[in-house]
Amino acid sequence: MFIELSGSLARAQDVKVIKFNDLKAIIDSKEAGLKIINFWATWCKPCLVELPFFETISEKYRQKGVAVYLVSMDFVSEIERVRAFVKKRELKSGVFLLNEPDYDKWINKVSESWSGSIPATLMIKAGERKFFKKGFDLPELEKEVKLFE
């Protein structure tokens, strides 16, 4: 118990503020494994419901090369709120805050099918892209991850 607690503390995440170019670099990076990029916000109730599922998947499939990126749509002025949330929930996936307020400029670059409502999730592996304009439960999320294996 103690080891697990200190382990999670050791891995406590900072929240990095990024621009769209940084996000694009993640999307375009050539890793072999599956990248799961989830768009969320602390104020988005359905997003918070599914966050633990992404954490579970991240933990369970990390060894298989699955990388989870939690990209917050909170306003950059709310960064401390996001940091406090990440700490409280002890999130271990990479957490980012995308500070790119001119949404119309980049939403289509994530997916042309995306209206901008969250939750939304992009999965990419070796050029294959799947975009989800919806929330997940854990079995459904795991099923999608396995489809990429």
Partner: protein, 232 residues
């Protein structure tokens, strides 16, 4: 799914392939999810209840919905209007809150020119307590809304194909019909009104007032997903 529900959905999904619907119902694939392959080869999965939007040029349906003052409001009740700035919004959504002052300003600027703001809240108050009729009244009075703020309990948001709050549909009256002229965000900076570069809705209405085509007809923005009422 009962027959009534299916009927309503079919009506809403005007442009959606019934064959796909049938196939999905038959296989039970993904429960409430549909699946399409986009032009770019990307697979897209989305909630079954997500409907196609109106597109610019479509005729928008009128409605009769409960206002914060207890009366029923419809588009037709605005006799002198040249058009409307219809905004799907909510109490609970931080993006909606961020735009409240700007919506009041839009109404102040354009209602007298024939384009009043009409706000509709399509969220299920069972899911968001902040979005009850009582709380809508409270918010409107606290924030000094000058425009109608209507309870959308008739699925108008689904008929229009609203995807998030806030989302604007600018309509123009043309021979008795309300024609969609712009769909999207109010401007290009939700979090900081002083950093706005492009005022999409103002530009669209200015174009219409000058009898010109709307230059920017569609924009996208991050917003809160709408939790539709379960009774529609």
């Amino acid at each position: 799914m009962n027959e009534q529900g299916l009927k309503t959905r079919n009506n809403i999904m005007k442009r959606k392939s019934l064959i796909l619907l049938g196939a999905l119902l038959a296989t039970g694939l993904y429960g409430f999810t549909e699946l399409t392959k986009s032009k770019t080869g990307e697979t897209v999965l989305f909630n079954f209840l997500e409907t196609d939007s109106y597109v610019v040029g479509d005729e928008a349906q009128d409605f009769s919905l409960l206002n914060i003052d207890g009366s029923k409001k419809s588009l037709a009740s605005f006799k002198g209007a040249k058009g409307f700035i219809v905004v799907f919004t909510s109490n609970h959504c931080p993006f909606s809150k961020a735009y409240e002052e700007r919506m009041v300003a839009l109404d102040g600027k354009y209602a007298s020119l024939g384009y009043p703001v009409i706000a509709l809240n399509p969220n299920d108050p069972e899911a968001y307590e902040e979005d009850t009729h009582e709380n809508m009244k409270k918010r409107a009075s606290e924030k000094g809304f000058t425009y109608p703020y209507l309870v959308d309990d008739k699925g108008i948001g689904q008929i229009y194909g609203a995807k998030r709050t806030p989302q604007v549909f600018v309509l123009k009256k043309e021979v008795g019909k309300n024609i969609v002229k712009y769909i999207g965000a109010i401007d290009d900076n939700a979090q900081d009104a002083s950093s706005v570069n492009k005022k999409y809705v103002e530009d669209a209405v200015d174009n219409l007032l000058a009898n010109k085509p709307v230059v920017t007809q569609n924009t996208k923005a991050i917003g809160c997903a709408i939790k539709w009422r379960s009774n529609i």
